[in-house]
């Protein structure tokens, strides 16, 4: 029995090496796994807060209407009532946060209007669209239409 053990004793050594490695691994693991991992699922719970804290670029139409009351009133009564302010004016959260220093960009009305309203067979038939060459002979849209209240 003793003899047998002596002849198998060398097998302890790689086993010890393996075990030591395993313990080091477990130790490292407990140190390195983020503390909030696994709280609500297999992910780092802190990620939710990080993603939520990303900056806003679009303010949302309620914010615009908060200051630009007159334009908002016109717009609500007109055909563009479903088109949000920033859909044309672009992202305005920076402007809303510091309206004196940051102004929204000037708009290129011609391309803005035609982007939606240029006639195209793929656009749904209920949507008001015109072939601008026939419609106005190339004249600018704002000559006749007020964008906040476009119907003539």
């Amino acid at each position: 029995m003793n003899r047998k053990w002596k002849d198998a004793a060398h097998l302890i050594r790689p086993a010890v090496v393996f075990l030591a490695g395993l313990l080091i691994f477990l130790g490292l693991r407990s140190a390195l796994v983020p503390s909030d991992f696994g709280k609500w699922g297999h992910y780092r719970a802190g990620a939710l807060e990080e993603i939520r804290s990303k900056p806003l670029r679009y303010a949302g139409k309620e914010t615009c209407a908060g200051c630009h009351v007159e334009q908002a009133g016109q717009w609500e009564a007109g055909k563009h009532a479903r088109v949000a302010c920033e859909a044309c004016h672009g992202p305005a959260a920076a402007h809303a946060a510091d309206f004196d220093k940051v102004k929204p960009a000037r708009l290129d009305i011609a391309s803005l209007c035609s982007g939606c309203h240029e006639k195209d067979a793929a656009k749904p038939s209920w949507f008001r669209q015109v072939a601008s060459a026939e419609h106005s002979g190339g004249a600018g849209c704002e000559g006749c239409h007020q964008p906040h209240h476009p119907k003539l």
């Binding site: 003899r3 047998k4 002596k6 002849d7 198998a8 004793a9 060398h10 097998l11 050594r13 790689p14 090496v17 393996f18 490695g21 691994f25 693991r29 390195l32 796994v33 991992f37 696994g38 297999h42």
Partner: protein, 398 residues
């Protein structure tokens, strides 16, 4: 339709650029060689195929050399390689890829290193006592402090080694099979998604591993100016033939099944094979890389050839097999990304040269295992003097 460079038809905008490059072709190829080489070793150890004994230690060293290189293409490919340890910290149990770290470590430590240590122990002890200089310290470290090489202890080594090899066979299957599952379980990809994928990967892995060891064995004998053990070479080649034939049958089954069922993806995939994949799949993988080596190996089984003729056939068949299996990996990985998931278009793969995922790093990664193998062979010579070391034998006299 507005043309996008390299794209034919329509692809979802984010699909145009391939996600997995040649590095991801290399990884299954390398782990395939590992698994295959180990299976060849187990043929002798567990299934007592005495004839392949001369390749036993070489197979183990080959497996180790390739296994050490295996994680490198993956690391090079990751967007954030410095975070790869996260797979050990928080492995996601539903992800086949999360298995990688553990299966790899298990196979490296418990199977390969343990088996190599047990088989070489007698020689390591001898060299620890007889070598001089820095080599002496290397061998002394490898003995792990035990110098007991009595008959009884070596017999125990033999028994434990046998047990490890028995565990090692399913472990080798797992090491490479899970790679097949990584592809085969992606329902979004019609080219990859099939239950046959892990099995096909496994059989092609075994083919490539056996072919690699055959070639390395013939090269080693040539370099050492020793006569080739024809009995060994013939047996290895015979196993290569049967395994590769099985692999071919499985791949044909997948192909026939696809053609017959002709589901929504079929027309798109069929077109892709006939155009973008014609050279790599039909010409290189199937004709040159499978049919030709199978024909050569079949010829050896059917008719009598002289030893020099058989040797030349084995050189050709072995090399062609490796080309064919590499092409198979290429066609699976790259091919699976050349067509759109809308089945309406195709893109192209731009292989860089000196970029991180380019051709030159790939070649370097394929050459590296041979460099490591050379070091391993110098450190742990597979063939000591004239005798071929057996199992449980007393320290070989050199």
């Amino acid at each position: 339709m507005t043309p996008v460079p390299g794209v034919e038809g329509f692809m979802y905008p984010n699909e145009v650029e391939l996600q997995w490059s040649i590095l991801i072709v290399l990884y299954p190829f390398i782990t395939g060689l590992v698994a295959g080489a180990f299976i060849l070793a187990s043929l002798e150890r567990v299934f007592r195929v005495k004839a392949v004994r001369p390749t036993y230690r070489l197979s183990l060293l080959t497996a180790l050399a390739f296994l050490l290189v295996a994680p490198l293409p993956l690391q090079l490919h990751l967007g954030r390689p410095e975070r790869s340890f996260e797979m050990f910290l928080t492995p996601h149990r539903s992800s086949a890829m999360a298995m990688f770290g553990f299966v790899y470590l298990w196979y490296l430590l418990v199977v390969l290193l343990a088996e190599i240590w047990l088989d070489y122990r007698a020689d390591i002890v001898r060299m620890a006592l007889t070598e001089r200089g820095w080599r002496r310290w290397v061998y002394r470290a490898l003995t792990l402090g035990s110098f007991n090489v009595s008959e009884a202890s070596l017999r125990i080594d033999d028994r434990v080694g046998y047990a490890i090899t028995v565990i090692g066979i399913p472990s080798a299957f797992l090491l490479h099979g899970y790679v097949g599952f990584i592809f085969g379980s992606v329902k979004a990809n019609a080219w990859w998604s099939t239950p046959l994928m892990p099995v096909v990967f496994l059989f092609s892995a075994m083919s490539s591993g056996i072919a690699a060891v055959l070639l390395i064995y013939m090269v080693a004998m040539r370099l050492q100016r020793r006569p080739l053990d024809m009995d060994c070479a013939d047996t290895v080649a015979k196993y290569l033939f049967y395994v590769f034939l099985s692999d071919f049958a499985l791949e044909l089954l997948d192909l026939v099944h696809r053609i017959y069922e002709a589901d929504e993806s079929f027309r798109s995939l069929d077109f892709m094979v006939h155009t973008r994949l014609w050279t790599s799949q039909v010409l290189i993988q199937i004709l040159l890389g499978t049919c030709l080596p199978l024909a050569l190996l079949a010829a050896v089984q059917l008719w009598k050839w002289s030893a020099p003729a058989r040797t030349r056939i084995y050189w050709a068949a072995g090399f062609l097999t490796l080309v064919g299996i590499f092409a198979m990996r290429w066609n699976v990985v790259i091919g699976g990304q050349l067509f759109s998931k809308s089945y309406l278009g195709y893109t192209s793969y731009k292989l860089g040269l000196v970029t991180r995922e380019g051709l030159l790093p790939s070649i370097a990664l394929m050459l590296l295992p041979f460099g490591i193998l050379w070091i391993l062979i110098r450190l742990l010579p597979p063939w000591m003097g004239k005798e071929i070391p057996g199992h449980g034998a007393s320290p070989a006299t050199s």
